[in-house]
């Protein structure tokens, strides 16, 4: 239930992330100290533009400044957050193999349930002619009668399905489950879907109520004049706070009338 306490805890986690980023991360120190921000205002009389949120392009260009002074990685994880959303993204509880088909995702998702393995498949390798190890592993898993979940853009998932249909030797393979992921500027109605950004990772999920739910355990979202700004709450480095994904898409943050948790409407 998205009650007042949960909302306050969510907000408190965000404020901690902002405070910590201002105190330790060069990009946010520079931006908010010199230009300002809102909600909260950190330097009196400096409110900046877009409430202090930064375009994803800017953050991507300045990734080196998103590591805290103490040091840390500057490499984003485009598969971040996938594992935690899978239970809401599909009707099955678990899959033997989770395949992410996306050119931006270069490392397998982590944190999957025990018994599940993750892998990535470059869309160019999802062709009938390709005989790469990932495709072979998918075919072998399906032949054993175990479940495979494919995640990626619709066109990439279609290409994977086509590649599996023409797999050698020809056998009748059960199709893998599929969950398409979408950028924030191209959200669709489902029935399944994940909200993805190549810089921040997986940010939300389309649930059975038909609304896009924010992954509120790991992600905060706020409305700014530049659009919806997302913050990854639990990643230390690179620190991603108030990022306008998709170039800044206007939207609203509300509470889901059925589930009570925060949803976005664009």
């Amino acid at each position: 239930m998205w009650n007042s306490l949960a909302s306050r805890l969510w907000r408190a986690a965000y404020l901690r992330a902002v405070s910590s980023a201002f105190a330790t991360v060069p990009l946010y120190r520079e931006t908010w100290a010199l230009h300002g921000r809102t909600d909260p205002v950190l330097v009196p009389d400096r409110t900046g533009s877009n409430g202090g949120a930064l375009a994803a392009d800017t953050v991507q260009r300045r990734l080196v400044d998103t590591a805290p002074l103490a040091g840390g990685s500057t490499e984003p994880d485009p598969a971040r957050g996938l594992a935690g959303l899978l239970t809401h993204a599909t009707q099955r509880r678990s899959h033997r193999l989770v395949v992410v088909v996306d050119a931006a995702v270069t490392r397998p998702p982590t944190g999957l349930p025990s018994g599940s393995r993750g892998c990535v498949l470059h869309p160019d390798a999802a062709t009938p002619l390709d005989d790469g190890p990932v495709l072979r592993e998918i075919v072998d898993t399906l032949r054993r009668g175990e479940r495979v979940l494919a995640v990626g853009e619709d066109k990439n998932l279609d290409a994977l399905s086509a590649a599996l249909r023409s797999a050698e030797p020809p056998t009748e393979l059960p199709p893998p489950d599929r969950v398409p992921h979408h950028r924030i500027d191209s959200l669709t109605g489902g029935p399944f879907g994940l909200l993805h950004d190549p810089l921040l990772g997986y940010l939300g999920v389309l649930r059975d109520c038909g609304r896009w739910h924010v992954d509120c355990r790991h992600v905060y979202v706020r409305e700014t004049t530049g659009g919806l700004a997302f913050t990854v709450l639990d990643r230390t480095s690179p620190r991603l706070v108030d990022v306008l994904v998709g170039g800044g898409v206007p939207g609203e943050v509300q509470a889901c009338p059925r589930h009570g948790s925060p949803v976005i409407e664009t």
Binding site: A23, T24, E30, A33, L34, R62, D65, P68, L69
Partner: protein
Amino acid sequence: MNVDIVDPRLDPEPPGWADFAGALRLHPVWRYPLLRLEAWTARNPPVLAVVRQDGRVVGGLQVMICRSWRTSRFGPPPRRLGRWRPRWAEVYLPLHSGYPAAVFRSGVDLRAAIREFERALADRIGPGLLGVLYRAMTADLADAMSGPGRARREIDPAAVLRPPATVDEWWAGLDDEVRSTIDAVEADPRVCTDIGAGRRDLDATELAALLNAHRARQDARAWAGGQRSRFAGLHMDTRSPVSPAYLDALLRRPNVLTRTYRTPSGRLLGFATMIDERHPAAFHHWAAVSRADGGRPGLHRHAYAQAVTRAIERGVSELTAGRAMLDEKAALGFRGTRALHTVAAPRPLLSGGPVLADRLQRTGTPAGDATGHHRKRMGSTT
């Protein structure tokens, strides 16, 4: 004489400061807008002490208020500074370390100015002030800061070149190996270089990342080599990474020349900045990609050679080149040095401090008087 201490992060530029900096042709690190950028993005942010006599600015000191050598947090907002929290002050230019962080008009009574500064600083910081470290001071300034009980030592000097009359004369004084390296860079088709003053066409983020990586590499090498600033086995570094905002503002200044080195495909290999003043000029920042990451050898020699050529053509009185790698700089003609000193003044010995300073003053400071301790603090006029 009185001293005002301002925090560049929030306080407006002190009246008369811009005129003072312009009259003394101070290098860009003294310009208030740059100081503000540096302060906001520093772990140990500097404040500016403005020394006035009869209302006229006659001197200034940049003072880093330090909380720790190894903190991984930027300086807290001014309102949060607790007066009892232990801190110390370093009078130091972390981004221009071959120059002292204290400047005065000629004819100013330096001892009196330093006394007033210490009183004002002690009043500003409060009981938590542990002492003042005057770093990289020239001999005349160090003399004014020295006194009984104050530790003083000579540190690595700054490399200085007093340019000869012609470029040919300087060129003839170089070793063949140095000349051939410079010629090789000049003729290398894989290296493209350009230069300009007040540049707005550069990506400061790219340059700052390279500069910070270069500094980190140099620091690691100096540390491995047992650098002289090591004390009791501690790695005492109060500096901060250079922020893109600061570098961008620096490069846009009309008296800052920036030279970049790139591959034909546009990859940045290195860059140098030069403060293009006549009295003196300074080879300011240098950064390059390491050899392991695909950097080209000898770029630094080419950059220094170009700076020397520029200095000779402009007829500058002196070109300085920082405090590191003196042998390498000597090979490029920087055979002179300027001695620099560090003076440490613990809190009990500060003017305006407790009893000990007063006693020591009375028992024999060379030019001191015994009135300091009883004088009204902050804003007092002598």
